[in-house]
């Protein structure tokens, strides 16, 4: 008895291990089948497991949906900021693509013009609506003088009139004081393109006998020394020959959209001293 009392615990432990090993060894060949003990335990537990599992899901939903809302709000704010920033980048990208397209067209025009040119950006317009002038961001420091031609990718814009060191005022071809010697491209009829109200021009001094039709392209004649020959000015939109008079009335729509002009080329040729 003394021996049993002394070694009871190690003995029980040993027996337990042996029993466990026995159960284990007996179950190894049938390890894929549930024995009676397992089946009994699972049968007892299954009614409990299902609601507890549902409760767990509910708690998880509550945690994710409500308790973690603080993080969600923060994340939402961050994502909104990301969207804003990405939208800004998309807009900048689109703007860069459009600017690139415009500048490419301007470069094409630069290749046509033989004289040296300098690119400029429109930075302002006339303060009144009675005159048609623009302000560009280049001046005498870039070699610009009064009386030089201003062109864009679509054609003639006007000529320089008041030059300061860093800015230049451009007299648009639609201003009443503007006059450009021109030719009808098809029939070679000549005249002077003068500015008219509502962003239009007229071809003056074209005699009644001259062949001018609606849709004809008007180009510079090269006379006068400011504009080189053949630059597009616009398109004839209306021709009127009265019963009397020497000249016909010809309206021209400028080739350049002057109200949406952003970049121009200054032809560094000619000009007044």
């Amino acid at each position: 008895m003394e021996f049993l009392k002394k070694y009871l615990n190690p003995l029980v432990t040993g027996i337990g291990i042996l029993a466990a090993l026995l159960v284990f060894s007996l179950n190894v060949p049938h390890n894929r089948e549930a024995n009676i003990a397992e089946r009994s335990v699972l049968s007892v537990l299954s009614p409990l497991l299902q609601p507890v599992s549902r409760l767990g899901s509910l708690i998880e939903n509550v945690w994710d949906g409500y308790i973690q809302l603080v993080d969600t709000h923060r994340e939402n704010m961050r994502l909104r900021e990301d969207i804003r920033s990405l939208n800004q980048r998309v807009l900048e990208g689109n703007e860069a693509v459009l600017t690139n397209q415009r500048l490419e067209r301007l470069l094409d025009m630069k290749k046509i013009v033989k004289a040296p040119t300098v690119a400029a950006t429109v930075i302002g317009e006339d303060v009144t609506s009675w005159f048609r002038t623009l302000v560009i961001n280049r001046g005498s420091s870039s070699g610009i003088r009064e009386g030089m031609a201003i062109i864009s990718s679509d054609g003639v814009v006007g000529q320089t009139v008041k030059v300061s060191a860093s800015t230049t005022r451009v007299l648009l071809l639609t201003d009443h004081a503007s006059g450009i010697s021109a030719t009808i491209q098809r029939s070679r009829a000549r005249g002077v393109v003068k500015g008219k109200a509502e962003m239009l021009c007229t071809l003056e001094f074209a005699t009644r006998e001259e062949d001018v039709k609606v849709g004809d392209t008007v180009v510079t004649s090269g006379i006068g020394g400011i504009f080189s020959k053949g630059l597009p000015i616009g398109e004839v939109t209306m021709v009127k020959r009265g019963e009397y008079g020497i000249f016909q009335t010809v309206s021209i729509r400028p080739a350049v959209n002057l109200s949406h002009l952003e970049e121009v080329l200054v032809v560094l040729q000619g000009g007044y001293e």
Partner: protein
């Protein structure tokens, strides 16, 4: 005019000029562009003294000319003439009135148009400009009067330009 008022006036004119040259053309059609310098000139004519107002009006007109068209001195002359006319009668009027201010701006717009047209017909070669000016005058008059009415609603409108 105190140094602070002069600085404030300078900043106001500069802001008006920049807005008129760079901002308005983007958002407003040419016929509906208000003439902010003209509105400022009318304010000076109604509230300021003759000694300060006359050179300032001339300078404002010159500024208008620098940023407009080809004829330097055209608006300067017009502004100065209009200033003299307003100044000669302003002492007999309740110059603090907002309605008077709006009406004067409208009247000066019309007078400025007439004087400019007259000067250009007499001294320049601008055939057809009368048509452009005539087609714009009505919207211009309305827009200037509208701007004047906004200015008159500003909190500091009824303050004195110069201390007596």
């Amino acid at each position: 005019m105190s140094r602070r008022a002069a600085l404030l006036f300078f900043c106001l004119v500069l802001a008006a000029l920049v807005i008129q040259v760079s901002l308005f053309p983007i958002f407003i059609r040419p016929a509906f562009k208000p003439d902010l310098l003209l509105v400022i000139m009318v304010f000076i004519a109604l509230r300021g003294s003759f000694e300060t107002g006359a050179p300032l009006s001339w300078l404002l007109g010159m500024l208008d000319d620098v940023c407009s068209g080809l004829y330097l001195g055209l608006n300067a002359a017009t502004f100065l003439i209009t200033f003299f006319v307003i100044k000669s009668v302003s002492d007999r009027l309740y110059a603090d009135s907002a309605i008077l201010f709006v009406l004067t701006v409208a009247g000066v717009t019309l007078a400025g148009f007439t004087l400019n047209l007259l000067l250009m017909v007499m001294f320049t070669s601008s055939p057809g400009i009368a048509y452009s000016m005539l087609s714009d005058i009505f919207p211009r008059l309305l827009v200037n009067a509208f701007i004047a009415s906004i200015v008159s609603a500003f909190p500091g409108f009824d303050c004195q330009l110069e201390s007596p």
